[in-house]
């Protein structure tokens, strides 16, 4: 698994999104993600993060050890 896998997975669920991923440790398993998508409109922060976790699904259960997550809606 690498950042590409994460980005592809996010892209499937958030086709419009501006996605910025950062490898925090050089090991590609501690990742910071900034995701800007219209799909977050009308959702609470908790719901927005749940959407991302759902998109990443099994990647959250091992391959990604830590995810710093920032979601927002385009201006």
């Amino acid at each position: 698994m690498g950042l590409n896998t994460i980005e592809e997975r996010l892209r499937m669920s958030f086709p419009d999104a501006e996605i910025t991923l950062r490898d925090l440790t050089g090991t590609e398993d501690h990742v910071e993600a900034h995701i800007i998508s219209v799909l977050f409109r009308g959702k609470s922060p908790v719901e927005q993060h749940r959407m991302v976790y759902k998109a990443l699904d099994e990647l959250m259960k091992g391959p990604i050890h830590a995810l710093a997550l920032h979601t927002s809606i385009p201006e």
Binding site: P45, V46, H49, R50, Y53, M60, K61, A66, L67, A68, L69, H70
Partner: protein
């Protein structure tokens, strides 16, 4: 047989502010848990820390409880507030203090 979901529900209901975390409030064993512990101490909030590392069933169960795959998880008056990033955002915007005051878990002049 142990009913972890019922246990978690009871714990969340019976404690005004509860943090499911890795490690303890005094000795967090994960940076994300440490950040929320720091925020709660900044807000002068009394809370209960549940160390999921000491209980694998709770560690798994809490993820199902809130359909949230990561730890830490913060609850106030039974309501799931979020993980580290959301809690940090709410703290920085002042909303977390407002919520704590409204929930009666911190004095206004704290």
């Amino acid at each position: 047989m142990r009913d972890v979901q019922a246990e978690i529900k009871e714990t969340v209901t019976n404690n005004s502010v509860i943090l499911f975390m890795k490690g303890s409030p005094a000795f967090p064993q994960c940076g994300f848990s440490a950040q929320i512990a720091y925020i709660l101490s900044e807000l002068n909030v009394e809370y209960v820390g549940v160390d999921v590392l000491s209980d694998p069933e709770v560690r798994q169960g809490i993820k199902e409880f809130s359909a949230w795959p990561t730890i830490p998880q913060l609850y106030v008056k039974g309501e799931f507030i979020g993980g580290c990033d959301i809690t940090k955002d709410l703290f920085e915007s002042g909303e977390l203090l407002t919520k704590m005051v409204a929930s009666g878990v911190v004095a206004k002049d704290a």
